[in-house]
């Protein structure tokens, strides 16, 4: 089997180097990690304010505050950004440190499914409280 970096006549150095990183296809993930990071950084300002308003609140007070559309929307955005960021960050670490291909794929699929499930549960909870 030929390795990707084997020298085939016309290939440029860039073409030979492409896809050799730990993930084999990194650029979209790299960008998504940064975009979600910026989203979280902005939303964290709202989140700190929201916590300051609801810390120690009773269940009724908390759900009333969260049911405000402005808060519910920000919370949903934060859930999407935070869980995407967690999945992408986890992926980066797994690809760097786990070198057994089978276990790597198993771990990545497992974390995708787990984080997706928890994110859906969080999103549904916010909608149930807000609607």
């Amino acid at each position: 089997m030929n390795m990707k970096w084997d020298n085939h006549g016309m290939k440029t150095p860039l073409a030979r180097a492409r896809g050799l990183g730990a993930s084999h296809a990194a650029v979209p993930g790299w960008i998504r990690l940064r975009v979600t990071a910026i989203g979280i950084a902005v939303l964290s300002l709202w989140f700190l304010w929201f916590l300051s308003q609801t810390i120690g609140a009773s269940h009724a007070e908390f759900t009333t505050k969260l049911a405000d559309p402005r808060n519910a929307i920000c919370m949903l955005l934060l859930i999407i950004a935070a869980f995407s960021h967690a999945v992408l960050g986890n992926r980066e670490i797994v690809e760097d440190y786990i070198h057994h291909e089978g276990f790597k794929i198993f771990k990545l699929i497992g974390t995708y499914l787990f984080f997706f499930a928890v994110a859906v549960a969080c999103g549904f909870s916010v909608l149930k409280i807000a609607l």
Partner: protein
């Protein structure tokens, strides 16, 4: 994999943390990943918080009891610390991504700024939590201040 026998020796694969002397830059980088993993654990607390609120007052009370317990408070303190560190260092990373702060002294300065921000914000947050939050009956710092005043004027 078509590797010849001579290249099959077990070499450490990148990134091999154990062969370098710890430096500010490398330690902060490793901390960034460690806090990132820690924050995903914190995300599970976050999920518990929201889901319990959706289930009802009983489930919410169970979560709030846990959050107020010593273990819960320790986890939340760690979450706060990791959150502010990862936030500040993440912004430091975004500067690097845009080609800034690459000079070694600037990387160090930004590193110290990250540590200072983390300490100040974590301290400020917990000062507010302990004075205003569910753990504040009576407010801890107010109690301490009252005790100090009593000590001065016996």
């Amino acid at each position: 994999m078509s590797q010849s026998a001579s290249t099959k020796t077990q070499r450490p694969l990148s990134p091999h943390l154990q062969v370098y002397k710890p430096q500010m830059t490398s330690v902060l980088s490793i901390l960034h990943r460690m806090t990132g993993v820690g924050l995903t654990v914190g995300l599970m607390l976050f999920a518990w918080w929201l889901i319990s609120a959706a289930i009802g007052p009983g489930a919410y009370a169970v979560f709030m009891n846990f959050a107020g317990s010593p273990v819960g408070m320790l986890l939340l303190f760690g979450f706060t610390l990791a959150f502010f560190y990862h936030l500040a260092n993440g912004i430091r990373h975004l500067f690097w991504d845009s080609g800034l702060l690459f000079k070694i002294e600037n990387a160090y300065k930004a590193g110290y700024a990250v540590l200072l921000f983390t300490a100040l914000m974590t301290g400020a947050t917990w000062y507010c939590v302990l004075n205003k939050g569910p753990y504040a009956s009576p407010p801890v710092t107010a109690t301490l201040a009252a005790a100090a005043v009593e000590g001065e004027t016996p």
